[in-house]
Each structure stands twice: as C-alpha cells, then as structure tokens.
Symmetry: C2
Subunit: 229 residues, 2 copies
DNA sequence: GAGTGGTCTAGACCACGCC
DNA sequence: GCGTGGTCTAGACCACTCG
C-alpha cells in the first residue's frame, strides 16, 4: 500500500478544512513531506502542483509553499451547445430559422471583428425552444471570407452553432455576459414584454487571427447561469 | 538541450492548428512519442495529461489518445474583489455603507441557505464607486450563527467582502449571473433609470455545510463580464 | 491476453529568489 | 551561497478496456 498523490492532496485539504493548517501557513518542503508521507518527492510534487493549480496553495522557490490567504478560485463555466443545455433541463429541443441574409458587415461588427465593412457576411436569426417555450434567441454573423461554404448551407433543419462546431475549429474566443432590454421583435419571439431585462451572452471566435463568427444569444426572461466552485 | 513537456505540448498544438492533426485523429502511444521526441515517457505523459485537462485531446486506456472532435473548452472567470476590479479599470475606489440591520433570515434566504427563518442575520447594503461614479450595489446577508463576530464590526470604512475574505474561508460556493430590473432605490443609488436592465451576480458560500454569507451584486448599467479562452 | 495510459520511485540537474 | 520548487530520466508495476 503506497501513498498516492491523491491521498496527499486529500490529507492537506482536510488539514486546511479542520484548521490544522491556517491560511498563510507555511508547509514543510517537498523533501520533508516526502519523508513524512514515505514516498518519492515527485509524488509530493504532483500533489502540490495540483493544489497550486486549484488555487489552494501558493508556491515560490526558496520561499516554500503556503496556504493561500483567501483561496483564489475561479469559477468555470462550460459553454454548452444550446441543444444539450435544453436536453439537460429534461425538455425537448426544437429549432427554427427566422431570418437569413447575405450582406456586408455592419460597422459595430467590423470594429469588434477587425474585418472590413465591405466584407461579405451571412446574417442569421434563429430561435431555440425548450419544449414549446422559446428559450434562446440567436443573432449570428458568419464571415464569408473565412467560411465561404457557409453560403451554401440552408440552416433550416439545424442551427448554425452545431454546423460551425463540426466544421471549423477556432484558436481564440471571447465571450461576454451582460443584461439587455427586450426590443419589440425580441419580446415577440421570446414571449416576454418589451423592455424586460434579459440575460445575454456574446461570443466571437477567430482562427489564427481571422474572424470566423460572432453571435449574440439572448435568453428567455429569468434565465440564470449558475455554477458551483 | 533536452525536450521539455512544454515543447511537446506546443508541437502537438501546432500540428492541430495547421491541420497536420485533425479532430478525431489518433496520436501515437506514449512510448512511441517518447522515442520520436527522444525523451522519457513521463515527459510525454505530462504533456498529454495537460492537453487532456485543457480539453484538447481525449485519452482512453488501450484505445489511445485522440484529438477531440470539438475542443471542449470552458470559460473561466476570476471572481475578483470589487476594489481590485475597479482599480484595474484605472479608477479610484470608494466605498459607502448605506444600511445595516440585525434581523432574522427572510424566507427566500432560508430556502437558499438551509438556515432556519429564525436565524439571526446581519443585513448590509453597500455601494462601491469607480471614481465618482457608482459601480456596484451590494446587498449582503451574513449568518450570525456561523459568524457572531460580524455583529461587532462596523462596516463603515471597509466593505464586508474584504472583511469576510480575511476572516473566514469557505469550502463551497455557488455563483449565478442573471439580469434584473432596477428598482426605484436601486436606480437612485446606481444613477440609472428605474426599470433599466442591469447585470447581477449572486453568490452564496458555505463552510462545511454551514451557510456563511449570501450576496447580491448589482452592477451599473451597461456592465459586461468578459473573458477570452 | 495484450496494449494503452496512470502512477510511483530514486536519482539528478537546474532556475529562481532570498540573504 | 544555498534552499526551494521545477523538471527530466529510466525503470517499474498496475488498471482499465478492447478485441
């Protein structure tokens, strides 16, 4: 029965949990820990490295390893495909294409995207349903210079997000969350009142510096994005 | 000049980026990779383990290592202290306590928190400024059963978030983001119109199952939470 | 059964950062 | 300088899972 790096992690965590190790406390060096756990230093190292990545401890050469003053943790959100998000709610997923237009990039998009305003883009508006209820309104722009084949796809049966996921990888993405008012047509599609406060996400993706797609996702009234950490 | 795990990661990533490795492709086994990179298998293993954690590849015993079909990535958000958030904007931070009251937990809080409705709580309302502009309205509830010493603190000079961070660790936290309407007093404090759509975060933390604090943070109009990934 | 990844060991060298 | 963590090596055993 040897000591695993998981057991070492669990032991350190339990010592923090029950107060035997307080925030700011200095831990023994890897060599000392390896002796006390009777294992190789590499095993201790892996345990401590993972605790570092998880934001539990802080390490500095020469200074040693300390329990973080306030465990710096970051919340992580998976960015699921809307179909899976809805199916995870236990509802049936349905999709409808509302509008489709080939045009040129409007000014705000050009600025965010670093594409010329004359660039050809495909503009799609779609609605995603959870059962019979509208769930999310999708306002999508696809850069046809980067992705000319998108012009040949009719997005009637399947949403552009799923098509894009299968078709193009990306190297960079930016996502932001904010609140917005329901405009008149938005309220009509989402079944809420004009002026209602709605949660929205905007995402842009690039492939090696070239803009691929920008999407604005407006959720139905009352939507919450939640995570535990 | 030895081969590091970082170089191996970078090499694999570049092969994915330029198409030499396509989504779904099977990579050579660790032993083969170690031979071709002329390094120890542990070095290859670390590179591949990190690529797995980052969602770039998928590994199964016996089946081998594959490039993920669609790189499953998660967005990460640091949850900074509001003071640092504001200072990072280049603005001066200021704080004001608006209201303070010792009371018992309202029903909705008891439900979220699993504390009795008779539990004593400290209810604080505070405003955080970026320069002269209101930035965030904080509506905080502290469980006085878990943290009786909070009753003795006047939160005049410093916000409860900073006090809590220094004072109590937590084992579990839940955070959620949504949109809300500005109520009348909220609009007055944040300098916006009643009914404006505002972005809000709600966070609850626990220490080993015991509720510590619940906070609702309502941001000024137009606030966006952004990350790249 | 056999091949793959998962982990541990014992040892080594190095880079960083205090003193 | 010197102690700490960061990394690499060569070898080993094990656990899972596919055929």
């Amino acid at each position: 029965m040897t000591v695993t790096y998981r057991e070492i992690k669990a032991d350190i965590l339990s010592k923090i949990s029950d107060g035997r190790l307080k925030p700011g406390a200095l831990l023994p060096s890897e060599i000392e820990l390896a002796e006390s756990y009777v294992c190789a230093r590499a095993t201790v190292n892996r345990a401590m490295r993972e605790l570092t990545e998880e934001g539990i401890v802080e390490r500095k050469r020469k200074a040693g390893t300390r329990v973080r003053m306030s465990p710096l943790r970051e919340a992580r959100f998976e960015i699921p495909v809307v179909r899976k998000e809805i199916e995870a709610l236990g509802a049936a997923y349905a999709y409808r294409l509302i509008a489709r237009e080939e045009t040129t990039a409007p000014g705000w998009l050009g600025a965010r995207f670093e594409v010329a305003e004359t660039a050809p883009v495909l503009h799609l508006t779609c609605l995603h349903f959870a059962g019979a209820e509208p769930y999310q309104l999708e306002d999508r722009w696809i850069n046809l210079e980067a992705l000319p084949e998108a012009a040949a796809v009719d997005f009637e049966g399947r949403g552009p997000n799923e098509w894009l996921l299968e078709t193009v990888p990306y190297t960079d993405a930016e996502i932001s969350f904010s609140a917005t008012h329901a405009e008149a047509d938005m309220a009509r599609h989402l079944g809420c009142q004009p002026g209602d406060a709605l949660f929205q996400a905007e995402r842009a993706t690039w492939w090696q510096g070239q803009a691929i797609t920008h999407v604005r996702l407006v959720f139905r009234r009352g939507h919450r994005m939640t995570t535990r950490y």
